[in-house]
C-alpha cells in the first residue's frame, strides 16, 4: 500500500496555476524524487503536503488518512518531517537545541512542569537527549553539538537540518533540494546519508532535486513536474528516453 497518495492536487495563487491535477503515489520505503524545471511547482507541492498552503484543492492521504485542511503542527505529529530549501534552522540556538526541537511533539511535559523543573521534566529532557544523540551519531555531528547554528558552514547546516527532521522519527521525510549549494564532497556525503536513512532507518523519502545525475542515481522512483502538471512518473531508467522530460528540461530534443 502506498504511504502517501496525492489525488488531483491543485493550487492557485490569484490566477497563477501552481499545481494542476497532480496525482501520484509514494510507496513506503521508497526514495521518491520529484524533479522539474524552475517554477514547476515542486516546492509548492511540498507546502501542500506539510499543510502550509491550506487553500489547495484535491486530496492528500497519509496511510489512508486525509491530511488536507490540517494545521502544519498536526501534520508534523502524524509523521511528516521536512527539510527546507533555503535553510530554516533556528539561528541563535545550538545544534543540539535545534535537534531537540525536532523532538518537540513527543514531549510529555507541559509549561508548568518545565518551569519548576520537576523530576519528570528532567527525565524527559534526558530521554529526548538520548534520541538526539543517536541522530548526532548517525550524521557525524559530534563536533558541532554545542555550537550555535549561526557560526556553522553551509554544508554542516544542511546536515543539521536533516538531523532535525530525523529527530522527529518521521514516516515521511520531505527533502527540498538537500544538495543545493553544496560542493562535490558535501553532495556525496549527503547522498550517503540519504541512502543510510533508506537502508538503516527505513524512512520513506521524497526528494526534490535539480541535479539530474544525483537524482537518477539515488531515486527508486521519479516524478517529473512541469508547469504544475505531472508529465512523467516511473523508475529513473524509464525517464531517460522520455521526450516530454527532455523537452521540459532542455527545451527540445537532444541527440542521445
Amino acid at each position: 500500500m502506498a504511504l502517501l497518495e496525492l489525488d488531483n492536487v491543485g493550487l492557485s495563487f490569484s490566477g497563477l496555476r501552481a499545481l494542476d491535477g497532480v496525482t501520484f503515489a509514494i510507496e513506503a520505503g521508497a526514495l521518491h524524487a520529484v524533479i522539474g524545471p524552475n517554477g514547476a511547482g515542486k516546492s509548492s507541492l511540498f507546502n501542500c503536503i506539510s499543510g502550509i498552503h491550506r487553500h489547495m484543492e484535491g486530496l492528500v492521504t497519509l496511510e489512508g488518512q486525509a491530511l488536507a485542511g490540517l494545521e502544519p503542527p498536526e501534520i508534523a505529529r502524524r509523521g511528516v518531517a521536512r527539510m527546507f530549501q533555503n535553510l530554516a534552522l533556528f539561528e541563535h540556538l545550538t545544534v543540539l537545541e535545534n535537534l531537540l526541537l525536532g523532538r518537540h511533539p513527543k514531549y510529555r511535559t507541559g509549561l508548568l512542569r518545565n518551569l519548576f523543573w520537576t523530576r519528570g521534566a528532567r527525565a524527559e529532557e534526558v530521554r529526548h537527549r538520548e534520541k538526539a544523540e543517536e541522530v548526532i551519531d548517525f550524521l557525524n555531528l559530534e563536533h558541532y553539538r554545542w555550537m550555535p547554528v549561526s557560526v556553522l558552514p553551509y554544508g554542516i547546516r544542511k546536515r543539521v537540518e536533516l538531523g532535525r527532521a530525523l529527530c522527529m522519527e518521521p514516516k515521511l521525510l520531505l527533502l527540498d533540494e538537500p544538495t543545493a549549494g553544496l560542493n562535490q564532497e558535501e553532495t556525496e556525503d549527503m547522498a550517503n546519508h540519504l541512502l543510510d536513512i533508506r537502508h538503516e532507518l527505513g524512512v520513506t523519502q521524497v526528494l526534490i532535486g535539480h541535479e539530474l545525475r544525483f537524482v537518477m542515481d539515488l531515486a527508486t522512483q521519479v516524478t517529473v513536474l512541469d508547469r504544475g502538471r505531472v508529465i512523467a512518473n516511473g523508475p529513473p531508467s524509464s525517464l531517460r528516453e522520455d521526450t516530454r522530460v527532455l523537452s521540459a528540461y532542455v527545451g527540445g530534443t537532444v541527440a542521445a
Binding site: 541563535h92 531537540l100 529532557e125
Partner: protein
C-alpha cells in the same frame, strides 16, 4: 585543579552550576547579597531594592521579547495591574502580602493571555503599537474607577504580614523588628523578601530557557514557519510566553508598589517605564537570563550615578536630574548597541574566554 567536571551522564549537562567555578560564583553572589544591606546607606539600600524589582521585571520582559521575540511596549501596563492589585487587596481588604502577590501575578497574567490572543497575528512594529495601546488603556481603566483605585490622587499600599484582625489593627511590616540584637527596618525586610522573589524568578526563567517550552518560544522567534512544520504550535508558544511574562511582570509591579508605599497611575506606569525595561534587556543582552539580571542591575545602579555625573557636565547640567539620567542612560544604551550588540552578556563572554585561554591570548 579541574575547572570543568567530567560529564558522564546527560543529567550533568542540565545542571545550572556544574563545576567548582560556578559554585564559587554562587557563594560569592550569595554573600554579597546577604552583606549588602549592612554595608550601605539607606539611600543605596533603596536603590538595591529597586534593582531587585527591576530583575523580576526585566526577566519577565526577557521571556516575552528575548525568548519568544514578541516586542512589547506594554510592560508598564502589566506592572501597573500587579501594583494596583496588591494596593487594593492591601488597603481595602487588609490581605497579607504573600497572598496578594500571587494574585497580582494572576490578574496580570489573565490580561496578558487575553492581549496575547489578540496579538497572535501581529509581529514586530505592529505588535509594539498594539501593546503600546494597552498602556493607555490600562491607565484609562485605572483612572475611570476612582472608588476602587482612588483615581488621580493615588493610593497607599500597606504591606501586611498577616490578616488585619477584627479591631482593624494591622500586622504591618513597616515597624522595625529586632532579631538577636540586629534591627530589621522596613527597607531591610523588603530587601530580603525581594531577594527571594528575584532569585525565584531567575530560577523559573532559567528553567524555561533550558526546557522544551522555552525552546519552542525561541523557535517561534527565529523561524516561525519552520517551527510550525516541526510541530511547534506557535499559538501555544506565544500565549505561554505572554502568560509567564505578564505573571512575573505583575509580581514585579506589586514589589514596586510595596517599595513605594504610595502609588499613582502616571507616573510611574507610563510608556517611559516600558522603554526603560526594554533598555535594560538591550543593555544586558537580549535572549539570556544573565542579560536580564545584569541589565536590570546596571540600569538601576547607573541611574543615581548618572544624576551625580550629569551635574558636572556642561549643557547636561541645565536639565532636571531625571532628564540628566535619561540622556546619559540613552547614550549608554546607544553605545552598547554600536559597540557590543550582545550587551553585558557579550562582555561577559569575552571576559570568560580571556580567562579560559589564559595565559594565551587566543
Amino acid at each position: 585543579m579541574p575547572t570543568r567536571p567530567l560529564v558522564i551522564r546527560y543529567e550533568d549537562d542540565l545542571k545550572l552550576f556544574p563545576g567548582l567555578w560556578q559554585r564559587a560564583g554562587v557563594l560569592l553572589t550569595l554573600s554579597i547579597t546577604l552583606a549588602y544591606p549592612w554595608l550601605v546607606s539607606t539611600r543605596w539600600l533603596t536603590v538595591g531594592n529597586l534593582g531587585l524589582v527591576a530583575i523580576v521585571g526585566a526577566a519577565s520582559l526577557m521571556v516575552l521579547t528575548g525568548f519568544a521575540g514578541q516586542v512589547s511596549l506594554g510592560h508598564a501596563a502589566f506592572l501597573a495591574l500587579g501594583a494596583y492589585t496588591v494596593a487594593v487587596l492591601g488597603a481595602k481588604l487588609g490581605w497579607p502580602f504573600w497572598l496578594a502577590l500571587p494574585l497580582a501575578g494572576g490578574v496580570s497574567a489573565l490580561v496578558g493571555v487575553v492581549i496575547g490572543a489578540f496579538a497572535l497575528r501581529l509581529k514586530g512594529l505592529y505588535l509594539a503599537i498594539v501593546t503600546l495601546g494597552l498602556v493607555f488603556l490600562t491607565q484609562h481603566v485605572l483612572l475611570a474607577y476612582p472608588e476602587v483605585t482612588n483615581g488621580l490622587s493615588g493610593t497607599a499600599v500597606p504591606m501586611y504580614w498577616w490578616f488585619r484582625d477584627d479591631a482593624g489593627v494591622a500586622a504591618s511590616l513597616s515597624e522595625t523588628w529586632v532579631v538577636g540584637g540586629v534591627g530589621f527596618n522596613f527597607e531591610r525586610k523588603l530587601y530580603f523578601v525581594f531577594a527571594l522573589l528575584a532569585a525565584g524568578t531567575v530560577w523559573l526563567t532559567k528553567n524555561l530557557q533550558r526546557s522544551d517550552s522555552g525552546r519552542a518560544m525561541m523557535a517561534v522567534r527565529d523561524q516561525d514557519l519552520a517551527a510550525e512544520v516541526l510541530g511547534v504550535g506557535t499559538t501555544q508558544a506565544k500565549l505561554q510566553a505572554f502568560g509567564v511574562s505578564s505573571f512575573l511582570a505583575g509580581i514585579a509591579g506589586a514589589m514596586f508598589a510595596f517599595q513605594q508605599q504610595y502609588i499613582t497611575v502616571e507616573p510611574p506606569f507610563d510608556l517611559n517605564l516600558s522603554i526603560q525595561y526594554i533598555a535594560m534587556i538591550v543593555l544586558g543582552g537580549v535572549g539570556t537570563v544573565f542579560g536580564a539580571v545584569s541589565g536590570a542591575l546596571a540600569f538601576t545602579f547607573l541611574s543615581p550615578l548618572a544624576e551625580t555625573v550629569g551635574g558636572a557636565l556642561p549643557l547636561v547640567n541645565q536639565l532636571t536630574s531625571a532628564q540628566q539620567a535619561t540622556v546619559l542612560l540613552s547614550l549608554v544604551v546607544v553605545l552598547v548597541l554600536v559597540l557590543e550588540p550582545l550587551g553585558l552578556f557579550g562582555v561577559w563572554l569575552r571576559v570568560r574566554r580571556y580567562f579560559q585561554a589564559w595565559p594565551f591570548r587566543y
